[in-house]
Subunit: 378 residues, 5 copies
Amino acid sequence: MIRMDWNRRQRHLRAALRVRRPRVARIRPGSLPGTLAPVDKAEPPTITVITFNRESVQERRVESIDGALAAITPGAVTWINVDGLGDPSLFGRLGERLGLHPLALEDVLNVPQRPKVERFDKYVFVILRTMRLERRPDVEAGGAPIIDEQVSLFFGTEWVVTIQERADGDSFGTVRDAIRQGRGRAREAGADYLTYLLIDAVVDAYFPVLDALAERMQLLEEEALVQASHPEETLLRLTRLRHDLIGVRRAVWPMREEIAALLRDDSPLITAETKVFLRDVYDHAIQALEIVETLRETAVSVMELFLSAQNQRLNEVMKVLTVIATLFIPLTTIASIYGMNFKHMPELEWRYGYAYALGLMLLVAGIMVGYFKKRGWW
Amino acid sequence: MIRMDWNRRQRHLRAALRVRRPRVARIRPGSLPGTLAPVDKAEPPTITVITFNRESVQERRVESIDGALAAITPGAVTWINVDGLGDPSLFGRLGERLGLHPLALEDVLNVPQRPKVERFDKYVFVILRTMRLERRPDVEAGGAPIIDEQVSLFFGTEWVVTIQERADGDSFGTVRDAIRQGRGRAREAGADYLTYLLIDAVVDAYFPVLDALAERMQLLEEEALVQASHPEETLLRLTRLRHDLIGVRRAVWPMREEIAALLRDDSPLITAETKVFLRDVYDHAIQALEIVETLRETAVSVMELFLSAQNQRLNEVMKVLTVIATLFIPLTTIASIYGMNFKHMPELEWRYGYAYALGLMLLVAGIMVGYFKKRGWW
Amino acid sequence: MIRMDWNRRQRHLRAALRVRRPRVARIRPGSLPGTLAPVDKAEPPTITVITFNRESVQERRVESIDGALAAITPGAVTWINVDGLGDPSLFGRLGERLGLHPLALEDVLNVPQRPKVERFDKYVFVILRTMRLERRPDVEAGGAPIIDEQVSLFFGTEWVVTIQERADGDSFGTVRDAIRQGRGRAREAGADYLTYLLIDAVVDAYFPVLDALAERMQLLEEEALVQASHPEETLLRLTRLRHDLIGVRRAVWPMREEIAALLRDDSPLITAETKVFLRDVYDHAIQALEIVETLRETAVSVMELFLSAQNQRLNEVMKVLTVIATLFIPLTTIASIYGMNFKHMPELEWRYGYAYALGLMLLVAGIMVGYFKKRGWW
Amino acid sequence: MIRMDWNRRQRHLRAALRVRRPRVARIRPGSLPGTLAPVDKAEPPTITVITFNRESVQERRVESIDGALAAITPGAVTWINVDGLGDPSLFGRLGERLGLHPLALEDVLNVPQRPKVERFDKYVFVILRTMRLERRPDVEAGGAPIIDEQVSLFFGTEWVVTIQERADGDSFGTVRDAIRQGRGRAREAGADYLTYLLIDAVVDAYFPVLDALAERMQLLEEEALVQASHPEETLLRLTRLRHDLIGVRRAVWPMREEIAALLRDDSPLITAETKVFLRDVYDHAIQALEIVETLRETAVSVMELFLSAQNQRLNEVMKVLTVIATLFIPLTTIASIYGMNFKHMPELEWRYGYAYALGLMLLVAGIMVGYFKKRGWW
Amino acid sequence: MIRMDWNRRQRHLRAALRVRRPRVARIRPGSLPGTLAPVDKAEPPTITVITFNRESVQERRVESIDGALAAITPGAVTWINVDGLGDPSLFGRLGERLGLHPLALEDVLNVPQRPKVERFDKYVFVILRTMRLERRPDVEAGGAPIIDEQVSLFFGTEWVVTIQERADGDSFGTVRDAIRQGRGRAREAGADYLTYLLIDAVVDAYFPVLDALAERMQLLEEEALVQASHPEETLLRLTRLRHDLIGVRRAVWPMREEIAALLRDDSPLITAETKVFLRDVYDHAIQALEIVETLRETAVSVMELFLSAQNQRLNEVMKVLTVIATLFIPLTTIASIYGMNFKHMPELEWRYGYAYALGLMLLVAGIMVGYFKKRGWW
């Protein structure tokens, strides 16, 4: 009766839509900077190497990082991809051989970092964050969870190293295909163009996520207004959506900034031709950001819609109570009066006393109904 | 009775004012940059060419883009207008002949893009977004829907190419008329002045839209206060209006920015004389933006007005309930007391017991009325 | 009874405080830039000319603009003032003779424009907006309406042209008096100093308007707390005040910005000495802006005060209802029990049954009152 | 009963905490700039002069400004302090003798001005605003009123002139003592160091005011939660505190800005050594500003706490009403049924009919209580 | 019954979670700048000195500051750490010997100062604020209190002086260990690298604090939705959390700014190599700031969730009341009618009158239930 399960249902709901704690970089106070500490729950890394030039492509999976580094040959672009952060020594070795700064390597392992671009003499270091929807068959209420993954990237004149946080789910499938098939300029240009393709893949991955968020927003807007059966779920989902938007914004905002820094950079590692393409990625990043901001503003207005619809419902409930109570309470009073046991009550003796009492009641009820009609409550 | 159709009416309303999902650029993660993919539901393009100089005007409709490009002649300005994005190969051909960058052409097809200005060596690329009200006879509740269309524009020294997203509804009628009739400086100046006229037409098209939004706001302000019959519709319309404003702002804000970029540009393609005119367009863009911001602030205050008026009504309802209940419940109690069946109840035997009871009731009611009057509730 | 006239009163109120639609520049999409179209409802212009130097002043009213232009003589400053925009040809003629840019003249006619300063080779073009309170004897509820008028100003080395939108209500009376009487430096300095005096007059005109707004705010703050009789009027007035503040801010903000631009300008038309004075006007503009911002923040807090006082009153109403209902409903229940007609009800036969029942009621009522006292509701 | 004095108490309260209208500069539209008009209610000025160098100090009170100006001697620093703005001619004379700009003098008289720094060739002009708490024995509810006073300051190479708006309450007592006793560097450095000491005294005067505001905030936070007896007073005090914060911020913000301008200034009147000290004052001004901003943010959250606690109390009240009403209304219904006078009502004849009826009532009440317990309302 | 202890419980709660007044710098209006006044409740200082170079480390605890200063030797880095501000003369002596500016020393003593970096000729002065959680066994409700401590730091070419406000709780344990064990570059680089290590330790100390705040937020989000038993505690804790966030932000924001200033500085005291490391600290500071901002935004949305859940509960309560009242009040009216004592009431004589009356009641109740079901209230 009258949903007595409010609390129980919420507990259930909360369990289903497990509260996602924001991921915070595991900066350990007390560790020295530049220490490559092992990462909790990190997956063991797998390494793939692609070496290509205009004429040919060589692709293989190697076991050790030394095998990968051996593939770097002049006159060709070598792309080393590492999936999983499970082996700190691998990164130590990589840094030693390519001359990477220890702090940069620490940032690779110490996920999640803020997106950033750092330029060194012989290479450029880029951190990005990619997002994708988790594909699960049983998702329903709050939409598919968003997976957030750090992608680190180093590039020099003839090599690119990418490091992905998670072993499952590759972000660079298209780029790999384009190189294999020699589509577009993919194999003609140098390491900076490959870097562009990779950044482009990361930025474009946001759009399906944003589209899913927009769809969730649209559903919530409808629910906010109709509030069919479980307002508490709508409320929870709206809060979740807002938190997801805060998270996405936190990833996209610095990314836009850092691609702009890359554009402004006059490093010889990036050709003028590639910059034209980077400008395009930059536009995409701004678009993603604007969509996030639009959704955030929309979320605020949907929250207000929800609150206002709640108020409206309370008003409706109170009107019903008021109409019923003010209609019947006076009638009860009249009936109670003629139920009194005084000896001398002349009306009780009247022949048409009963009819008179009923008439009086009808009259009072009629006046009340008229008043309600006048106020538009009926 | 007491509007039991709240939910049904809302479902109806929602169907009428179909929730408009924000248009998001169809950036496909996984496609290579610079790919001219066919556009969903794009209309087949129609091409018109106007070639003019101070002395003469030639205007015709051509079938193929090659026919249009053949019209470019030295010593005259050629304006090629394409309506509809239905044929990607047309744009590929256009890009090839005029030396346009593939990413620019991708942005033309991949609507909606953020407004932007990109300067290349031989030409400047401009993306704008125009808005207009859909003219439909049956529109009533939420105001006419706003149509949002991307307008792309390339201009070189002696040619201008404009590409409009939708085949219906031309944004450039006035400019065409001015060239035909040789009004003002329309035929005397070069391609940059024509570009100015076209941008001016796009920016000025916002003002009737803003005027319609201001009118809707004004109606909603009145409704928010009176709330005659269907508060849920007012609420929905207000939310819609806020979302429309978010959309318009998202279009106008970068447009202003990009016209400023065009003003700062020192490209030889834009003469100093034309810049004076561009400064005027820039002022119009700022004015449009300020009106949007004013309307957004007004919307917030109207929402608060609505909520406050809702509260006020709840207060009124509760006062009525309180007055009636506190007036009659004590009377019922008194009447019930004298309706008890105790053997020994001296009052019941009194000669004027009944009158005494009625008098007691009147006294209590009088005290209550006095109390309400004192508090200003009566 | 209980104010059943809520809706009727509001309709009345709304009619009295006619909703003022924000004035939007009549930018007509479809008109060519630089066209001097006739202005709707514009008043026929009247022209006055003052020519002065250190020694003498000549002041007269002329019929045609040519008569005014003839008054410009070397070695003296000529100030031409036009009141009313009713005759576009007048401005065409003016532009032709003084070499004014057609877009500038279009801005003069196409009111209201955003305040701005544009520097040309031979002259500077300034648009300002002045405000004043309409003086009407019958104003009461929402304060005197604010009149908003565009003032356009051109100045060269030896001439100043001012154009006021409305024929009634001159903004420059003090300046005129100062020139006539040769007070201060009014007649000693050049056209730039005269320009300063005119801008100063425009900016200072805001202060009485701001003072009136501050007074309305103060009254509303009191009303928000006491809410004597008509909360809906308070609410409406507060909303009106907020909209007025949005309007004033929209005028003042760009004015401050544009006076700053004038200060930064290195045009030879403005002497270093006059700049010291312009810096003072700039300070006044900032002060006006800060007062507006302060009032806006105050308005937000007054709105919250109003809402909170509304809530408080609802709480009070509900407490009264709760106290009365919980006091008397249990008594009614007790009385009803002893009003049942069972054959065997021992209490009914008791000698002091009636006294016992009344005692029981008193006891229950006493417990309730005690409970209310404990909670601080009594 | 149930506080029927809401309105009367508020009227009383409002009278006690007289609404303070924000002070607005008395800029008179219609007066010529540079006019030294008499100030309303200004107190007659008193003049003190201190002349000091490393060896000696001379301090006296003079009657006329000429006496003060005569004290300026080479090789010593002369500090002229004027308390009260009552005599415009004094300032005219001062300006004439020291070559001060008429607009600067107008700002001295035309209080309150926005804090500012203006650099002239031979002197620098500084306007600051000081605040202090009024010391009154009878203050209680809203905290001691804040007194806001303009301090104007001119300094050249060997002289400093300070003008304080109010004759009572000197802001510079410490500086005076330091000079008298030759403490620190007070007598060793020049006019710029004295200026620094004076500005430091003005800025530091804000901290006791901010501390008092913080204390009021802390009290209000407690009241907001407990809301013992008079929520309307809490509400009023909170609004007052917010308005006071708006006022303090309006004074501190430009002061910080202008001290920064003084720091950036390369005037020969300020030595590099003094700038190190000014940087310290600047830090204090920023700290004051940050405390104001923190208090403003806190005020918003306290307001929300207040509203939320109000809601919570309404919920409590409504729960009590609901529990009592739903407990006793069904019992009344049962009792009324057995109070009906039908001839044939079998239960009435039962031997244990009365017990049965009471049992039924207890059962219903028990079910209700169980339901309330389940929902956690009991 | 129905939690009558609201007020008492709050008083208790408030006492437990003692309201923390924001710490405000004890700037005493009236004291001369550069005065080293004794600090209230300051702990007596303890001094430790570490002198190290690549080969060796010397660490000892000294009694007087002169002993510490004697340890400074060329060719080695000397780090003097002072815990506790209890002895102003110590700092006077320190300033004298190392040539520190009196204002800097005043800032060291006059806690809390805003974080800042000031560059002098021979040394750089840095103020930071560190935070850590107080470790207390009995903390439960509002999370462990945050301890806020000022850390001042001076560094020259071969020496570093650090001053910690509190004698308990050292912030630099890790750095000390790293020097002792010669880990990383800790002993190889100069005083600037040591400074970097110290700043890094301060910044990284924020992350456990932020993590604890995030955990509190997560708990509050759950409580806001479920609101099991004591909503007033949730409210209080949420307000406390918001105030804590305001406090943390006030510390982190200027710290980020000042590290940026250190990065931009071209002082010869900081080598290019160390700047690469400072850039890393800068990134950490930005990350801390972003987490704070994210938590602040989350706090706003949790507050709205709380308010909305409160509203929802009120709606539930009111629905229960409405359903019960509208179900039973009409039945009472019917029963009362047949309880009237009129002589001629035909129904009373009917054989099945009683059954008819009960049927009528059931019918009315059924209609009501049907109506509630239709509205989804049942």
